[in-house]
Amino acid sequence: MNSLELFTVNNLWMLVATILVFIMHLGFSALETGLTRTKNTVNILFKNVSIISIGILTYALCGFNLMYPGDFSFGQFFGFAGWGLNVPVGNAGLIEYANGQYTYYTDFIFQAMFAATAATIVSGAVAERIKLNSFLLFSFLYVAFVYPIAGSWKWGGGFLHQMGFYDFAGSTLVHSVGGWAALICAYLLGPRIGKYTKVGLKPIMGHNMPLAAIGVFLLWFGWYGFNGGSVLSADPGAVSYVFVTTSLSAAAGIVGSLLTSIFYLKTNDLSMILNGTLAGLVGITAGADVISPMNAIYIGFISGILVVFSIIFFDKIKIDDPVGAISVHLVCGIWGTLAVGIFSTSYSFVIQLIGILSYGFFSSLSAFLIFYTIKVLIGVRVTEEEEIIGLDIAEHEMESYSGFQIFTVE
């Protein structure tokens, strides 16, 4: 077991990482708000503030004990250590809890910050047309049950862990779990009015590019905690290595999307390189500790290319994702997880694929069942009139930019 000193510094890093993951929620809020219209701004902010609350509270209620059940009840698929926090007393919750890496409380709060992320990913994809209550209900159920159960399969020591599936910080466990739900919900919701018209595709422009850029920078900032914290200690070699691969992949993601934008789209599309940055980050997340710096650059670069084509693809099949959440989190999440099997000799491509499929199956099925049930019971989409007037007025009776003159057409 580590010395008290090492325990303290390890734990400190995990706490700092927690804060960094926390601020990613501001990143998501800003990005989603920036890439949608003024008339839905209050709504998006409201959802994002609520989600972080739902995430933390449900994780305390049951999520933590579903994700790290200790013993499984159904094979290695499901286990539950009971409601609420079971704080081990004395040193068992402190230095002994994880051999001097972090305390019980640190473990809980670090993981809790991750949990809310999955729901936030969905938030962007369904923006500008989902009913507030239905969204909050969906998030509640998804974060409280689906995310932690899925998580237990690998991080909780479940069957995928046993098989040797590898996902360092959650390209699959967090990003694609959120991404699948985003895909299913966006599909069930249908596109925003005016996006896919008889005369073809029409862009619905985001209203605040500085806000979107703030979002991406803060997400990158927080990602150092997301990936760096996933080392689960302050081990100098490991954490600094993860910092380097993470940075290189993000930087390469920018280059990848930049070149694709210039050569394929023939323009310098800011929203694309913003997504490309995130693509690079999601792509490296599964293997940040095992991928070489050079390969990190490849992975990020490919992620950056992939995300642009993916965004175009989803528009082609008329799945309307205002912020590119599906392309960033699902597509690059899958790619990043596969990349571990490709670039690292220690992990098997096939097992990575099995992991991806297992998560895909479970996440999308759960998302479908939950969202479809909500759709049938209380509906998921606002009325056409509400959508046109905007959710800020329709759901919140409030404007986001009072005093500013805003032109709502074209």
């Binding site: 009776e397 409030m398 404007e399 003159q405 032109f407 709502t408 057409v409 074209e410």
Partner: protein
């Protein structure tokens, strides 16, 4: 020559544009405005205080046309707005124009308007 000023709902603009084009009216000017009319006021709440917004968002169209296009323009606008049978569909005002000048060419009158 007449100046047609129409106050319409913002969301109708794209359709109105199409209808005008169909009727060979290619030029117009748009600005945004707030209108108070018979429409039901919007309810807003901020920090526990409710208030009514009676000045609602409108779009203001200005279309200068020769006399023989007036009916077509009016009809185009009404067609779109009439779909909805609610209050607050707006108004059209027709004003006389004495002279019209195309700045680029200094053309005047009927020639200049289109």
């Amino acid at each position: 020559m007449k100046l047609i000023i129409a106050i319409v709902q913002p969301e109708e603009l794209p359709e109105i544009k199409e209808e005008l084009l169909k009727r060979k009216i290619f030029k117009f000017t748009v600005s945004n405005a707030l209108g108070q009319g018979k429409e039901i006021p919007l309810q807003e709440v901020y920090r526990g205080i409710a208030h009514e917004i009676t000045l609602l968002k409108k779009v203001r169209l200005e279309i200068a046309v020769n006399d023989d296009y007036v009916d077509a323009a009016v009809e185009a606008i009404c067609k779109v707005a009439n779909k909805y049978q609610e209050k607050g569909r707006g108004k059209i005002f027709i004003l006389p124009i004495e002279e019209c000048i195309r700045i680029r060419t200094n053309e005047k009158g009927k020639e200049a308007i289109g």
